[in-house]
Symmetry: C2
Amino acid sequence: MDLTDTAPTLEQQIALKAARALDENALRTIFTEARTANGFLDGEVTRQQLEAAVELAELGPTSANTLPVRYVFVESPEAKERLKPSLSPGNLDKTMAAPVTAIVAADLKFYENIPRTFPTRPEMANNFIGEGKDDFVKGFARDNALLQMGYFIIALRALGLDCGAMGGFDKATVDAEFFPDGRFVTLYLLNIGYADPTKTFPRLPRLAPAEIAQFV
Amino acid sequence: MDLTDTAPTLEQQIALKAARALDENALRTIFTEARTANGFLDGEVTRQQLEAAVELAELGPTSANTLPVRYVFVESPEAKERLKPSLSPGNLDKTMAAPVTAIVAADLKFYENIPRTFPTRPEMANNFIGEGKDDFVKGFARDNALLQMGYFIIALRALGLDCGAMGGFDKATVDAEFFPDGRFVTLYLLNIGYADPTKTFPRLPRLAPAEIAQFV
């Protein structure tokens, strides 16, 4: 054992970092055996579980820490009925039966939080304020909220839950019903619970790394 | 021990699913202690590592399994020089010094793969073909590629790597240099390697679950 007080070598630092890697079981949970749920067991999902997933996902990076994603967790039968008119026929029954359905949305006024979430440069909020910036602000909010939705899907899986994302619904109808003041725009719906394995579809083919990645 | 051949109870099924959850160490690696890299140690990142991350991230869900994300891994000094004119001053030095910089892009002709990636409904490709659909196709490609970039950031971390995403660059300049035929649109740049902890910024504040999630 080396008791001299020397800094770690580069090799030691890299080895420590590589040791952080997830084991096969953890990779199975979030990627290799994780599957989109198409129907759920009758098991309860608690608000504590959902808030824990929200909190984990919130740690993921966004441009200038702008954190625009917002979630409405639709749990009650009454709120599910409000969602119903927006759903496509193929998504209707499974959504009405899911323990909870998240409306994943982007806050178009995310920049109001910049003085608090980027305190070293509060003046950055001004980049998003002013005439003619609506499209830029909306695109920025959507882009970053979609990144955050990616983190959220992984966070749910990391906590042992399953989910099924859906783009097959009328976003304008959801916006009008849940966000009538226009501040939030709906991106996706996400059914959450414990997947019924008998309802999960076979995994669809993926593109190979060589088809989608190049090295230059 | 019950040796009768009975189906597992709901409680048993839920318990098995909850047992998939990641332990604290794994959660640290992908979320709670993962940080945006702002400078890197001089440790090599191999193509095998990058392809492994690409392959993991490709398993994440996209709408109708359309998988539009594409990666150009900029490794060589010559290719880094091609990237240079697009970089903002604050991102220049760290990007030129990073072991590898990924251009994360969306393939606007993702639908050509639908017969192969969604073989049960190959005719879905037609939804994306025809006059007046350019904005819809581009939005769809961008939305799903951004979700996939979220998965990719987590996949890199899961494999023990660090990354730093950057929106501070001129996307049109990157598109013109790397994608002159207009088929791909650049979304973000992502420096990848082993973070130099002395260059990592303090973690910025996050919004609390109660501020960004509601239950109805």
